[in-house]
Symmetry: C2
Subunit: 286 residues, 2 copies
């Protein structure tokens, strides 16, 4: 059980990690990709690091978080469950437990396929480890948006027959030879008495027993059920607290000024709020 | 006339300067001292610059502001006058004009002497250049808190007879030989029909025609008349706008979380708000 789980490894997350460590809290920071900062060719207005490449600044910040004792872990947090006194987060096939959570996942937007949300748990899954065994010796379709999907697809190919559809262009050379790469861009899902179907923008249809969708980001509704948001931004008060006690949010995902300096400021605010929350929980336990 | 005058040269001010320059606004940043950051032995939780000395980080930030085209000027902004479409700021004997103002002066608290505020303009002055000539060939007392006061005292000594009282300990070796250094720590001022008196904590009394008080910081009420504050913090909305149109504030002086990361975030917010204000003013002029 760590004191604080930080979801996201950009500037808001790194800033939160540094301030949590200053408060002597144990921190695990889980991130799935590099986000907006890494895409910035050059940053001129972040005080302290003149004319720096985004990718380099991100590297510096993550190194610094590790230097100060935060644990960095690459992976996608699929869902977070409030467990009363703590939180359980599912990261691929691993469960992380934390006393509090800071969300700092950036602005990564998830564009669902038609019917995807309503069919979730009805043959449509985001988690190979959780649901793969249900489709042993069956027909599966994997919809992949990034290289991270390859490993999941290869695991599923050990269980049954897998076809692979590309949602966003990425390198697929790592796919197991038994996996069939099928053409077309997925658009909609459908379920009837004979099973599930993926329809592509090119109007092809592929049938399967199970459909796995792997994207480097997760929709807020899936990440943490009941989390209040407005126009795609997580709602927080001035202390960066969300509507769920023990869950804080910072950076681009809370909207406002989408700037690097604001993100690091909010990261600090969220960290101080989490520190105060954890300290209260620890006292209540005694 | 510059687009933005920034009062204060700490992290909030430097951050504001960098973002103003990104928006191609002309910026003059006036600062009188080094503030809270310079006093920090080591900063561990500012993302991007691991385990850095406060003084060194401040130096980096100021260098960066200059690199991006901001003009840095050492000096004390004594007072700012709203002039309708613009602002005039008095910096020692110089008047700076700006379309908008960002206040980022930190938490420097001014402890007034008894009766100081009520006697201001009645023989008590903060400005040698403005008021020195009123006391030609007369008796003056200078109350100094830092080395910056020495130069002012020496100028006054060219006009009349000056005695010097130390409010906060500092090097006084630069004082003109004609200036009499008198003992005691000033506590209260008083005015009667025979002139002004300074009373010290040691219960000595010194009479004069004029009293000049020179401190490295200026009280908010004196800096900008009518500026709303609460518990010593300047009141701002979420865009860092104060109650005076065209005046924005950021950093420790607006209260909230007194952290470096928050200061730089607020600096950016204030800069973006000032940019939007200046752009509206420029359009209105056409």
């Amino acid at each position: 059980m760590v004191d604080v789980l930080i979801v996201g490894g950009g500037p808001a997350g790194c800033s939160a990690a540094l301030t949590c460590r200053r408060r002597n809290l144990s921190v695990t920071m889980v991130y799935s990709g590099d986000g907006a900062l890494a895409k910035a060719h050059r940053i001129d207005n972040y005080p302290g690091t003149p004319r720096i490449e985004g990718q380099e600044l991100l590297r510096l910040m993550r190194e610094q978080a590790v230097l100060e004792g935060a644990v960095l872990q690459k992976g996608l947090v699929q869902t977070i469950l409030p467990m009363g006194e703590s939180f359980s987060a599912l990261v691929q096939d691993q469960v992380l437990e934390a006393k509090s959570v800071i969300l700092a996942c950036g602005t990564g937007r998830v564009n669902f396929l038609e019917n995807e949300e309503s069919l979730l748990g009805q043959g449509v899954s985001y988690c190979a480890t959780c649901d793969g065994m249900f489709f042993k010796d069956k027909e599966m379709i994997v919809i992949g948006s990034s290289e991270e999907a390859i490993e999941e697809a290869n695991y599923l190919a050990e269980l049954g027959h897998v076809r692979y559809l590309i949602e966003k262009k990425h390198d697929t050379t790592g796919l197991h030879p038994s996996i069939e790469l099928v053409p077309g861009v997925p658009q909609a899902l459908q379920k009837d008495e004979r099973g599930l179907t993926v329809f592509t923008k090119q109007e092809e249809a592929y049938k399967a027993d199970g459909i796995f969708v792997f994207r480097p980001t997760v929709a807020l509704t899936q990440l943490l059920s009941g989390l209040e948001s407005e126009n795609g931004a997580v709602k927080v008060d001035t202390s960066c607290a969300t509507n769920i006690p023990g869950v804080f949010a910072a950076g681009d995902m809370i909207g406002g000024t989408i700037q690097l300096t604001n993100a690091v400021g909010e990261g600090t605010t969220a960290a101080l709020s989490a520190a105060s929350y954890v300290s209260k929980m620890n006292k209540a336990e005694k």
